[in-house]
Symmetry: C2
């Protein structure tokens, strides 16, 4: 474990929410913000890992725009490419052979790069972009904010019936509801972007290596380093990978080298931990799985006890990675208000619990999305407060 005093200094300085106040001491006054999927849950794991994941970068390093001039994605740090490939091979969640790796400033940038790459530059009409309800709340604004003539949001994939080219966004496990997903349109002239941000063993069973043409991942939900803003795409088609690279050059002239080097270090430590069977405490996916199991049990207990809410039921599957049957325990809870309550978000906001309204995901206001990835103290307060809600 790393030096305690520095960490404490950091914690008290920049993490005002990192306290051990209970709901009683707090008096129910603290705002519990579970609107974002801020993965601060992983902070404790990385504190325990200490110095082995510390990045040291000298003032003269990585000055250039270029990382690897021989590579199609010339701003990808080779070390990061290697560590991404190694991790996928260890976990068995994605095929990396015959794929180009394109690094992005988070998978958000890569999603836009994919839309740019998959839309013809000279079509008379913008390409339709669809996703099944409930879909990730950012897909619509991301597609529409620049009023692009290349692509436009066309809503729920399940009701898309135009006989024209389209791009379907498939998030699996899905954000917000956690279910595993497949494309639903399946027509000629369509392409699919597979957003696999949550296809890691702490959230779901790894049933087979994903083998799609265009797959997106992010360190944010894999290791918890959201602030690092690093995502990657595994891309089969060379021309698509080239156009995605072109987008990132136009958009931000490449991707922070510092964050790439840090992500390489962190991902390397994750892989080392997975391979070190003598020390299960250093195994991120086991740590994450244990914590998620406990949190989901506590949430289900609170929900059952209250009678006001319900949660999805998930199938169990055999996980090739842990060699046992495991349950889905998503990064978000897709919470539904039962009975006459029509606006779940308002109800919870009235109790100072901030969540994201179901309508932002193309669904009913009876639903909200709740982050399951916050710090222990926040999660504890949330469970306590949720349990105390009476109509």
């Amino acid at each position: 474990m790393g030096g305690g005093s520095d960490q404490d200094a950091h914690v008290s300085k920049s993490s005002p929410s990192w306290t051990t106040r209970t709901e009683a001491e707090d008096g129910g006054t603290r705002v519990i913000n579970l609107d974002h999927g801020d993965p601060t849950m992983f902070e404790r794991f990385w504190q325990k890992m200490g110095d082995k994941c510390t990045l040291v970068i000298s003032g003269w390093q990585s000055i250039s725009y270029f990382s690897d001039v021989g590579n199609l994605c010339w701003f990808l740090e080779p070390e990061l490419g290697r560590e991404i490939t190694r991790l996928h091979q260890l976990v068995g969640n994605a095929v990396t052979e015959d794929r180009h790796i394109v690094v992005g400033t988070g998978s958000t940038q890569l999603l836009q790069a994919a839309l740019y790459a998959l839309s013809p530059p000279d079509a008379s009409e913008p390409m339709s972009v669809v996703s099944s309800v409930p879909y990730y709340s950012s897909y619509q604004p991301l597609t529409n904010y620049l009023k692009s003539g290349l692509y436009k949001w066309a809503g729920d994939a399940c009701s898309f019936n135009r006989d024209e080219p389209y791009i379907e966004l498939v998030t699996s496990p899905n954000n917000p509801d956690g279910f595993m997903r497949q494309p639903v349109v399946n027509r000629s002239g369509g392409t699919v972007v597979h957003d696999l941000a949550y296809y890691w063993p702490m959230y779901t069973a790894i049933t087979s290596p994903a083998d799609n043409d265009l797959m997106l991942f992010t360190v944010s939900k894999c290791t918890g380093h959201a602030g690092t803003r690093i995502g990657w795409a595994l891309v089969k088609d060379k021309e698509v990978a080239k156009k995605m690279t072109e987008f990132i050059v136009l958009n931000t002239i490449g991707v922070s080298k510092d964050s790439q080097l840090r992500a390489a270090k962190i991902i390397g430590v994750v892989s080392d931990g997975c391979q070190n069977l003598d020390n299960p405490d250093e195994h991120l996916f086991q740590y994450g799985r244990r914590l998620m199991t406990e949190r989901w049990k506590r949430l289900r207990d609170a929900v059952n006890q209250s009678g006001l809410f319900s949660l999805p039921d998930f199938p169990s599957n055999f996980c090739n990675y842990v060699s046992e049957v495991t349950e889905i325990q998503p990064a978000f809870a897709w919470l539904k208000c039962e009975g006459d309550i029509e606006d779940c978000e308002s109800l919870l906001r009235g109790h100072k619990i901030l969540t994201r309204n179901g309508k932002q995901f193309g669904a009913s206001t009876k639903y909200v999305r709740v982050s399951m990835l916050d710090r222990d103290e926040t999660f504890d307060l949330f469970i306590e407060r949720l349990s105390s809600i009476r109509l």
Copy 2:
């Protein structure tokens, strides 16, 4: 000075162009790539500065998306904000009072954020974006690549005569030609984005603090850390700053914390160096100024000797920062072929010197832009090879 062996290892591994071969030894076969403005010239300065600019970042730090929830730009690391303000105050090149700082993934992202913020969301026609010829070659593709309905490229500001709202991009000192610039359209309904990437004492005289409504800067051309991808905007209007922040949230959900912390460290060391009068070797702007003076002298000598080319002549100005009259010595040379040569880029490419064609800047093919910021060895080879060109 930092540890030599690590640096050498780095240099030999990742910098194949870092050699001391002369043109004679090289036999004129090496491709000299001066197309990009890759600021590797600064590498040696940072090597000399050693450990004081080393960033150490623990595995558990900066996990969250959030840096400063109370700030309008909630993903700005407070430390970076403070160091930016301190540097501007020391150098006197921009007013920071009553300005919002918006951090971006390089000033490229901030330019797009500015276009987004300054274009009304519901106009019937996209807003015209103009800049005076010769303009930065990326402005046109940056404005048009997504075929946005919010804004579109409208070319040379000097010939813009439509009676409608517009955004004028003013780069000063200008990229590619190095001259100081002012807006030229000056009509009602227009807004101006001031790209001040090169308004630092190594490139030009600091005649007064820039006091514009929207000013863009980047560490790339200030400290040389292009790979860090950090830029910042100083924005007077709160609503514009909010919309720029919104753009960056949609585009990349904030900006790499690691790079922000590194930029804060580096900029802090630059300010310390400027204040430490006992050790002029640690003064980045003096170092940069000396090197640019020497390079521009050598380039002018080579150009005069050859008779095939010409360069702009610049006025001298009193620089408040160094308290003396100084010359403009831009980060790029705007080189013109004289006589019958119509395509300067082809001519130089024939001698394996890669430069950027004048037509990309809206100008004649008789011109090329040549980076003056590459490593010593590359610059030496360039001068030697340029001097040897005969028709």
